[in-house]
């Protein structure tokens, strides 16, 4: 695999939909399953080849399998069947503020998040100032993150993810939280990373953002890829699927 390359082959993955994912030994030994809806097929035989440097937007209605696709590409969730291969370092920005220790300062969380992605202390220290500057947190970088607003959360989260030298950037609908100026800055940073050879996979309901950022669109519906092609055609397909006309 070349760094930045992504291959999904006949990828399938189902999730049990229950309030409490943990089972008890008693339930297992008695062979009883918790009651609940049938498992949801989040990915249903999806095949996808993405070359290094491509920018791919994934769209689809709620529950179409967009986030599951990102979680599979990030290596966080395994497939039930099929194959996934991602070349190089994949960095995912999935949940707002996920993995932040709330009682720790922004600076300490930069350390932990860098370490989570397999960076060494020297590598993280070398880019801490760039991350702090990008996040525009100023002196708040040394305050516990529990005092942060949601905008500050997303700024720090994005700043960290954008400075991990990712070969593959996986971003899920989190940019919308920042203000317009910060969103623009994020898009510029993403463009820089792409120019440096990184691959982008972006999940968003923001059609304009996808059209601005991505050259290729994949439309998911019911866990299956129903369209894969140039972004303009893809968004047209998506709007017809949703029964909406979007005036830009």
């Amino acid at each position: 695999m070349r760094p930045g390359e992504i291959v999904l082959e006949h990828a399938s993955r189902a999730f049990a939909v229950r309030a409490d994912p943990g089972r008890t030994l008693k339930a297992t030994l008695l062979g009883r399953r918790a009651h609940g809806p049938e498992p949801v097929q989040a990915l249903d035989d999806v095949s996808l080849r993405i070359a290094p440097g491509e920018t791919v937007g994934i769209v689809g209605r709620n529950g179409a399998g967009k986030t599951s696709t990102l979680r599979v590409l990030a290596g966080i969730v395994p497939l039930d069947s099929g194959q996934v291969d991602v070349g190089g370092r994949a960095v995912a920005l999935l949940e707002l503020g996920a993995g932040f220790g709330r009682d720790f300062s922004g600076r300490e969380n930069i350390m932990l998040n860098g370490a989570l992605h397999g960076l060494t202390r020297e590598e993280i220290e070398g880019r801490t100032e760039a991350i702090v500057a990008f996040s525009e947190l100023g002196r708040f970088i040394d305050a516990p993150v529990r005092t942060y607003s949601s905008g500050m959360f997303v700024r720090l989260g994005f700043a960290i993810a954008a400075h991990m030298d990712a070969d593959v950037l996986l971003i899920d609908e989190v940019l919308a939280v920042g203000d317009e100026a910060f969103q623009r800055k994020c898009e510029e940073r993403i463009a820089q990373r792409i120019a440096a050879g990184a691959t982008l996979v972006l999940v968003s309901h923001d059609a304009a953002l996808i059209e601005r950022t991505c050259a290729r669109a994949v439309v998911l519906d019911g866990g299956a890829a129903v369209f894969d092609g140039p972004v303009a055609d893809g968004m047209g397909f998506y709007h017809r699927l949703m029964g909406t006309r979007h005036e830009a």
């Binding site: 943990g22 008890t24 993995g99 220790g101 009682d103 370490a115 992605h117 397999g118």
Partner: protein, 262 residues
């Protein structure tokens, strides 16, 4: 599957996890580390009162408080590590859902935090015991080997209980309940050799409980100033290797779905 190279790549993550937990553990607790010295001392006082003063058993160990203290320190490390490990993966669910990294690091970091406290307390206990008992002798060279084996043994069991508890939420409570009788059959306030009338009970207390040889061997070295039997040392080393290998095997078999279940 995490190979050695991948674990090495994530050694800074491991360090970060240990630091964070250490800080969280001691932050906001008035006594801090002192609590971990006070706890075994209070237990020791209570057991001394019950077993040496009230019950007056048929066996006698000189400087009995020190005899108790060595066993108690090991037991507290063993039991606290497993209890903390059982919920460790759920506690760190946010990290598991965020990135791909060797999940083994989480219970291993939890045990390491307990190990740091344990070593501080054990050094104090060991210095006191060796000074009072005059056991500054050749068998002490075995102490590092025994402690390394104990740490490996506990990490192995911690891997098992942590991943089992993530899937089956009654593993933690079952463990907590099991630790109470387990404490009483462990040779903490007695030595298995004290049981003179029932050979089968002595053998069971010596060999069936895998914690017993660790306590017996360490106490031989620190408190007795004698070499533990070769069988005991072999048992300890093999138990550590088996627990670690089985723990890793079970953990890696079950770890894939962790981001979904925690």
């Amino acid at each position: 599957m995490a190979g050695v190279a991948e674990l090495l790549r994530y050694r800074f993550l491991f360090e970060q996890m240990v630091r964070r937990e250490l800080r969280q553990k001691y932050q906001g607790s008035l006594l801090g580390l002192a609590w971990y010295v006070v706890n075994p001392l209070v237990l020791m006082g209570a057991y001394y009162l019950v077993f040496a003063v009230a019950l007056r058993p048929g066996f006698h160990h000189p400087a009995y408080p020190l005899f108790l203290l060595v066993g108690l320190t090991i037991w507290i490390f063993f039991s606290q590590s497993l209890l903390a490990a059982s919920t460790s993966l759920l506690d760190q669910g946010a990290l598991i859902r965020k990135a791909r990294f060797p999940r083994e690091l989480i219970p291993a970091a939890t045990v390491t935090v307990q190990l740091v406290t344990f070593l501080v307390v054990l050094v104090l206990v060991a210095v006191l015991t060796v000074a009072v008992r005059g056991t500054l002798d050749a068998p002490l060279v075995l102490a590092p080997v025994l402690l390394a084996a104990l740490a490996a043994f506990v990490v192995g069991l911690a891997l098992m209980v942590s991943v089992l508890h993530a899937y089956f939420r009654d593993v933690g409570p079952i463990l907590a309940a099991a630790l109470v009788p387990w404490f009483f059959v462990s040779p903490i306030f007695f030595a298995p050799a004290d049981v003179v009338h029932h050979a089968w009970a002595r053998d069971a207390l010596t060999w069936v409980n895998p914690v017993a040889p660790f306590i017996t061997a360490t106490r031989d070295v620190l408190y007795g100033g004698v070499w533990p039997s070769a069988t005991t040392v072999a048992y300890v080393v093999i138990a550590a290797a088996v627990a670690l290998a089985a723990g890793l095997a079970l953990f890696r078999r079950m770890a894939a779905e962790l981001a979904v279940v925690v």
